[in-house]
Symmetry: C2
Subunit: 167 residues, 2 copies
């Protein structure tokens, strides 16, 4: 059973009660949040963000390597000045290696997928605190990020809903 | 005034009432949503998603070009089988060109930023429906995406909160 009809029904309900049609494009709270695509994380609820407040960038792992384009646009065109990086416990990125996922994709999808996967870095990591530290440093060091940006890093615990700062 | 202390205070409140500590890693509704980082979009509220339901991938524009790694991980390792692509009206990506943002970053941040920006594709687009069509097609055609995947594309209207399908 496809889930799309349920999502569209939920959207009708949301739109019927929608009262935020006059928000400007630039985020009101001038912050960009970078986090994982993980289904257990709701960044808006977990950080108290309302529509209009913040840019939210998400990918597998919440990785800076795939977020510099978005962060540069966020800062230069839309005025954000803080960045919050949130990785999390029990992340899928801790469970595999490039070799493992390349082999699985080739087995599932065939030769063309194997060749495409061989050329892709899937960016798994072995330690979540270390990945936060690395990504905070990578963002702070990027020439495309304003040097006065406050970049803070956290681990989100999917069992408790709580953020812990990574120093 | 930094906004981070407010986000952390909101997180304390969220964690204090947190009752979803036993969710499994794979998304319960087996769907991945790809959308823009835009502050006005709350994908969970707009699509009726609870914690644990869906992968949510977000970048500037909601672009497939930067999402294939995440989507392949989502499908191969975590079992999602539908993909919903949501771009939106009044998107920042409609307001500039690579030349414009490269010039602005060089002017704001200096020579090193100019050189870095010259080597980056910022991926602006001129027509939101066309960008949805292109990205749905790019995902469906990727060798790293399961050929049986339902990929649906929508434009979200930031004035009404409503999704419109793009055929």
């Amino acid at each position: 059973m496809p889930v799309l009809p349920e999502l569209l029904a939920a959207n009708q309900t949301y739109a019927a009660g929608f009262a935020k049609g006059d928000l400007p494009m630039p985020p009101a709270r001038k912050v960009a949040v970078l986090t994982c695509m993980d289904a257990r994380i709701d960044p808006a609820k977990a950080l108290g963000l309302e529509e209009g407040d913040a840019h939210v960038i998400r990918n597998a792992g919440g990785l800076a390597a795939e977020a510099i384009r978005s962060l540069a646009i966020s800062q230069e065109l839309l005025g954000t000045r803080e960045i919050v990086v949130v990785h999390h416990t029990d992340c899928g990125m801790l469970t595999f290696t490039d070799e493992v996922i390349r082999g699985r994709l080739a087995a599932s999808l065939g030769e063309e997928a194997g060749a495409a996967a061989a050329g892709m870095a899937f960016l798994p990591f072995a330690d979540v605190e270390e990945s936060v530290r690395r990504d905070v440093a990578a963002i702070a060091a990027s020439p495309l990020i304003r040097p006065d940006t406050a970049v803070a890093g956290f681990v989100y615990d999917v069992k408790t809903g709580r953020l812990t700062p990574v120093e």
